[in-house]
Amino acid sequence: MDKNKRSMIIFALKILIPIIVVIILFLGGINAGVITFEKEKIKTGDITATIKIDFADGTIYQNVLPLKNATVFDFLLEIEKIGDIEIKTNVESGGYEINSINYNGKKYVHGQDGYWWLFYVNEQFAMDSADKTYVKNNDLIEWKYEKF
């Protein structure tokens, strides 16, 4: 094999081998059930969780609610149903996003003056949207109006 042909094959292999490795890892992930094409339907059953809203001005709302198969967003909607707060939401590409929360006649707007609504479950920041984060029994949901 001449030198040119050999270096061409080595060049092609340097590109093809990583692509093949990625494809094998992806297929292996599917085979092992690590990679799926349908999100597992979560059934959390009857749960009781604490929901706490920190409005960043010293006002704190807290309630303990029982729900069934509920997400963080469902808990927020439940407080609205009770009549304690009023929320406005936007549908973003990744899910629901809070637009504003009204409490005691005051409106706390997402993004106003650098304050944003973020939520934590058991003190951990959640990267998924609130409507995709399922709550487990005795979880602590915290909504914080935080300045960045």
Binding site: S7, F11, K14, I15, G29, G33, V34, I35, T36, F37, E38, K39, E40, S93, G94, G111, W116, L118, Y120, E123, Q124, F125, M127, D128, F148
Partner: protein, 228 residues
């Protein structure tokens, strides 16, 4: 226009062109990203979308290009200018110094490719490899910033959770930027070898040192910003 800039070796004009292209593309695509595809990954007991779309690849390519085409100060001036302009429109938060320094690192990677004479068709695997290494360093660094920033508890579990949650972004960064490198950088390398001559700008040793030190200074500032 680009041809004239290349001919005249007008470094500032080329930098402005890159900044304008990067800013326009990032702003235009900002509200037009599709939702995450229905591919999920379960790791560490957490199921999440495998890809979380964002516009990292736009600024990453501009950063690598600024390193390859301009070098020196422009390895950090160009990507950071794109970020400042577009952040004014799109918005950002306290993580900005981490992302800006991350893009400055990518610019340096592009510059290293040029200075090591790696911009040849024969070195395309190396170019892609360096690009991928740059993306990984960017993600490790910026997610470390997210961890330090207080979204996660400062424990080993918090760190693992932080990096697990960041995987969909990292997968998308690797996929989108590798494709973008194939579409943008590889053709430039091919053209350089066959048709066009890339501008060669004189870079003084002091400029060289400052441009390499800039990402490190930004990284230190990012860490300090968390303490203030």
């Amino acid at each position: 226009m680009i041809e004239n800039i290349f001919k005249n070796k007008n470094r500032i004009m080329l930098a402005v062109v890159l900044i304008i292209i990067g800013s326009i593309v990032r702003i235009l695509l900002h509200n037009n990203l599709p939702g995450s595809p229905s591919v999920f990954i379960t790791l560490n007991g957490i199921t999440q979308s495998m890809f979380m779309f964002d516009l990292f690849f736009v600024v990453a390519i501009i950063a690598i290009l600024s390193g390859i085409l301009l070098g020196g100060y422009y390895t950090f001036i160009v990507p950071i200018s794109v970020m400042i302009i577009t952040d004014l429109v799109i918005g950002n938060n306290w993580i900005l110094l981490f992302t800006w320094s991350g893009f400055a690192i990518l610019g340096i990677f592009g510059y290293l490719l040029k200075s090591k004479n790696s911009l040849t068709v024969r070195h395309i695997p190396r170019i892609l490899g360096v690009g991928i290494a740059g993306i990984l360093i960017y993600d490790i660094w910026t997610n470390f910033g997210t961890f330090l920033g207080g979204w996660y508890t400062h424990t080993w579990e918090g760190l693992v959770l932080c990096y697990t949650k960041a995987l969909p972004f990292m997968f998308w960064h690797l996929l989108s930027t590798t494709i973008a490198m194939f579409l943008v950088i590889v053709p430039i390398v091919y053209l350089k070898e066959n048709k066009i001559t890339l501008p060669e700008f004189q870079i003084k040793p002091l400029e060289n040192k400052i441009s390499i030190a800039a990402p490190a200074i930004l990284m230190i500032l990012a860490l300090i910003s968390l303490l203030v």
